[in-house]
Amino acid sequence: MGAKKGGKQEDAVEDMPHVPLKAILLADSFNTNFRPITLERPKVLLPLVNTPMIDYTLAWLESAEVDEVFIFCCSHSKQIIDYLDKSKWVNQPNFSVTTIESYNCIGAGDALRLIYERNVINGDFILISGDTVSNMVLKQALDEHKERRQKDKNAVMTMVIKQSKPSQITRQTRLGTVELFMAIDPATKQLLYYKAKSDNQGNLTLDKAFLAENPSISLHNDKQDCYIDICSEEVLSLFTDNFDYQHLRHFVKGLLGDDVMGYKIFTHEIHSDYAARIDNFRSYGSISKDIIQRWTYPFVPDVQFSMSNSANLERHGIYMASEISLSYSSKIGRFTYIGKGSSIGGGTVISNSVIGEGCKIGSNVLIDGCYIWNNVTIENGCELKHAILCDGVVMKSESVLEPGVVLSFNVVVGQGFEVPAYSKVSLLPQPVKQDSDEELEYADNNSGIIPVTNTLENGNSSSELEPSDVGIGGRGFIWSISEVGHEEWRHSVAPIPESKLIELTQTVFDNLEINIQDDNVFPIADEQESGNESDDENRDEDQIFEKEIEATFLRGVQENVKEDHIILEVNSLRLSYNMALENCASALFYSMLKLALDTPHNSPANLVDNTNDVISRWGKLLKPYIQSIDDEIEVILKFEEMCLENGSEFAPVFVLILHLLYDKDIIQEEAIHKWADEKEGADESDKVFVKQSEVFIQWLNEASEEED
């Protein structure tokens, strides 16, 4: 059977060169991160350093020797198709571009289902979205994928990843996305775990069974998902079979979680190549800067890779296109791009910015870190910092943009008006009802184009009548940012404000402290058993359980509840937390010692007395839970642990209390022997208490001999 299979696959290899490499390009991001701009223009046509994003993706696909690209358009599909018709991509030899249009897709899942129905894909294909910038060499990844496929039919997908360290403070990547955790088999590069953490905690929970199954894993939080996937055709059918996969990464999680089918996902890490996806405004800014810094070479502004006009690169990373008029006294700072036909007035200072084509910038304007698209007019004395200005925006004189502002198409900012930080201004009113993102997108598709004309007309006629949100003579609505108010700074092009960073640093430290304290108060009950420190979930549960037991016990002590009742309560806790008897025993014992410890005492002897009191009064509670020798050993271990960690006052009197427990018949002689035996092979540091109790154990031995 195996041999037969091998033969077949060899044939497949020989056929490989004839199979054209196909790619599916999703020209819709299916999210609302780029609102309000995407209400009027699809995301993939937004200019990134003066070239539409889709051109970067297509140029890369072409250079990666992809033969056929299927572009899936959903919202604003007409604009995309019109653009492509005019572009050079349609009439290329050896590179065919086909558009697939749909009006009712609400996610990537739907898109792939539709493509599956069209039956255009056979064989491996590349899945990419139209907002990805890359210059990676695909061949190696592709070869690896094919090789794996031959060995294992279940290796359906290869995911491209790249190292990128997330910020320690904000727990987000430089692209503004949340920190990503991946577990990868270091030998096979198989992806075993994939989780994007949305909360601010650095904790990660892994299943114990997961660790047991995979003897070696490497956990990463410094990998960036490039959203370039090499897929086998099964992927499409899997999407069709599972209607709940909506996003591409749902699918990844679905496959990883599903053991039944046994499909596997592998990763391919790129090092010197660049790949990144524009997900939000922050990544838009970061990737623009990467392009200007030439990490995406040869897809840089001074190389003509698309239709756009090329620029000349001058010193200090300044790109200048042709027909620019620069005033004598203007200052163009580093890492700036200035598009064709723009004019810049005297005394104007520009740095770290992209200025599109045909822009008119007056004198004494200050522009820092802005992305200004085409035909924007900025009058004298304006001040702009870290903002995005879409086509046709007009800023009247002396107006100011605070960091993080987004001005959508044709917005007019009134004279002297100061647009507050992180505001998004559009001629379109904010969509009112927002039940769910999906519905929103859906509504957008149907009515995306119609309101544009409507409101524009409204804006024209009524601009004098109704006061606009953006100053006298201005046009545009400032969208409220209430829904995700605290998230604004995360996804904006503006750097995170200093105060926010300090605040975040504080919380990070607080979290750390809490964690440390937690560790002190609740020592790990069954470290040996779980055998893994990263087994966070179990540990958390143990801690909660112990806390509950302690609370129950203390209440019992204070209110002098009957022992039976306490036992009943502990039993119910045991069942609800799904704990073993020994856990209850150790938790109860721990609570008792804690009580003794908390009772005021002035000397170790006094402490022993206290313990004696507590144990004689409540020792019976332990009886139902200590049924075997193992349970007793567990109690001793717990005690030992406590002495080492927070109950260090017990350390000197360890033997005395051990004796006490023996006297009270809580622990039998046998358990003590076994405990001592168990510790025989342990580290020196672990043997401290065994040594301490050596005399006692000897005494026990002698006593038993005498009895004999």
Binding site: S63, P93, G176, H271, Y274, S286, K289, N352, V493, P495
Partner: protein
């Protein structure tokens, strides 16, 4: 190397024709039509190329070829001046062979077509000057072939005229033909420059003689045409083939001279890797010269490592050093031999990054700095701001791993402006005063002599490839 077929030998000195053409165009600019001899008027058809644009239709398949090449240039898929030069020449050859030529002014149409393509090619990757060089070379070839063809026919005409009108002295044209043969057969050098004085006067004499034969020209013109059109194309293609051959064999031509430059027990220093340098050193080795080579590794591409491997494989004693150790080692070196990306008209060199430093070190210790350059690397332009305009900044990933430094490029923290900037220029400009000697396939030359070589290989009319709008 220029090589001419015997059939053209009875032509006129081409320098004369260049002059008359210049005279003609100057006259046209000024709006006056001087009373030129008839034959010149006839010739003027050949040179007024501008109006015939509609005739220069490129066949669709050459169109795709050109586009394919353009794409590759734009995407930086083709690198290295030799490969680019060869591909450009081959492309132009196929363009010429498929170009449909009009009945009149064939050379003009051809030149126009090549210029149009050349303009696209040079803008596609302005840094790869070899493309422009080859385009100019091909243009020059067309011009020369055309001139030699016309002179051949006119030479025939003048003889014909002589039989009609026996006043002229046949010796004059015979002298002119002989002079033309001499100038074309010999590689241009300072000596030939002096000798050229005599044919020049002869040519003027011939010019007078042929003018009288103008009347009979109309009759022969139509019969000549077909054979001439085929001949022009054929001749041009043949010469372009020779050019391709030249490019392919330039390594060997240069390497042949190795023994003259590398002596026993010498220490040679080189940086990075260059195909020409490998051949050169190995040629010296084959001639039983024993010498040692220091190889500076040539960061960030470290091609020096592969060069060292190659040299060791051929049995040369090799030492690898870092780029920064060049100055420390240079005092032990007898000669620096390096390759070039391009040689400019002033003798300045566009070379892999790091070479300016090596050249300065060599100058400081008076070590000869020798640049090996195939003739296709000769660029007829003067460098203006070459550090910026004739340079290309490559991806910073050749220097650093993006992932390792990604935290330095988190624009969300701080002022939002990048604090880290990685610059990776591909080339250095070595000024001519630092170069001791150029070794090309025609021999060794002084930097100050470069302009002369260039004058032999390129026509002054082609220096600017950008065509101004005719309207």
């Amino acid at each position: 190397m220029e090589f001419r077929r015997g059939s053209n030998d009875d032509g006129l000195d081409r320098r004369f024709w260049g002059r008359s053409q210049a005279l003609w165009s100057a006259a046209k600019r000024e709006g006056r039509y001087p009373s030129l001899p008839n034959d010149l008027l006839y010739l003027s058809h050949w040179f007024s190329s501008v109006k015939l644009t509609q005739n220069s239709v490129i066949m669709p398949d050459t169109h795709t070829l050109v586009n394919d090449f353009l794409n590759k240039l734009k995407k930086r898929k083709i690198e290295g001046s030799k490969a680019t030069a060869k591909l450009t020449a081959e492309l132009l050859r196929s363009v010429i062979s498929q170009q449909r030529l009009p009945n009149t002014n064939q050379a003009g149409a051809l030149i126009h077509a090549i210029k149009a393509i050349g303009e696209q090619l040079t803008t596609a990757n302005p840094v790869e000057v070899a493309v422009g060089n080859i385009v100019r070379r091909v243009l020059h070839i067309i011009r020369e072939e055309d001139v030699s063809l016309t002179t051949a026919s006119i030479g025939g005409l003048s003889l014909q005229g002589l039989s009609d009108d026996e006043e002229d002295n046949p010796l004059v044209s015979a002298a002119a033909a002989a002079a033309a043969a001499r100038t074309t057969l010999r590689p241009p050098s300072l000596q030939t420059l002096l000798e050229d004085m005599t044919p020049h006067s002869a040519a003027t004499a011939l010019h007078h003689s042929s003018s009288s034969a103008g009347d009979s020209e109309d009759k022969t013109k139509s019969t000549d045409k077909n054979s001439r059109s085929r001949k022009l194309k054929h001749n041009v293609i043949e010469t372009v083939n020779e050019l391709i051959q030249d490019i392919a064999t330039c390594h060997e031509q240069i390497a042949e001279q190795a023994v003259e430059h590398i002596h026993h027990n010498e220490v040679i220093l080189t940086l990075g890797s260059s195909g020409t340098v490998i051949e050169f050193l190995c040629a010296a080795k084959e001639k039983k010269r024993s010498f040692r080579v220091f190889v500076a590794e040539g960061a960030p591409r470290y091609q020096g490592h592969t060069l060292a491997k190659e040299l060791v494989a051929r049995g040369l004693q090799t030492t690898v050093i870092t780029d920064s150790a060049v100055f420390a080692m240079i005092s032990r070196v007898n000669m620096v031999i390096v390759g070039a990306h391009a040689v400019m008209a002033n003798g300045g060199v566009i070379a892999p990054v790091g070479l300016n430093m090596v050249a300065l070190a060599a100058q400081r210790h008076a070590v000869p700095f020798v640049v090996l350059a195939g003739i296709h690397k000769l660029c007829p332009l003067y460098p203006h701001n070459p550090e910026v305009l004739l340079n290309e900044l490559k991806s910073p990933s050749e220097l650093l791993d993006f992932g390792e430094l990604s935290d330095c490029m988190d624009f969300g923290i701080g002022t939002g402006s990048p604090l880290l900037h990685v610059v990776n220029p591909a080339f250095d400009y070595v000024p001519p005063k630092l170069v001791s000697l150029f070794i090309t396939d025609t021999g060794g030359h002084n930097p100050s002599y470069m302009y002369r070589l260039i004058a032999d290989y390129y026509s002054a009319d082609d220096l600017v490839l950008q065509q101004r709008p005719t309207s």
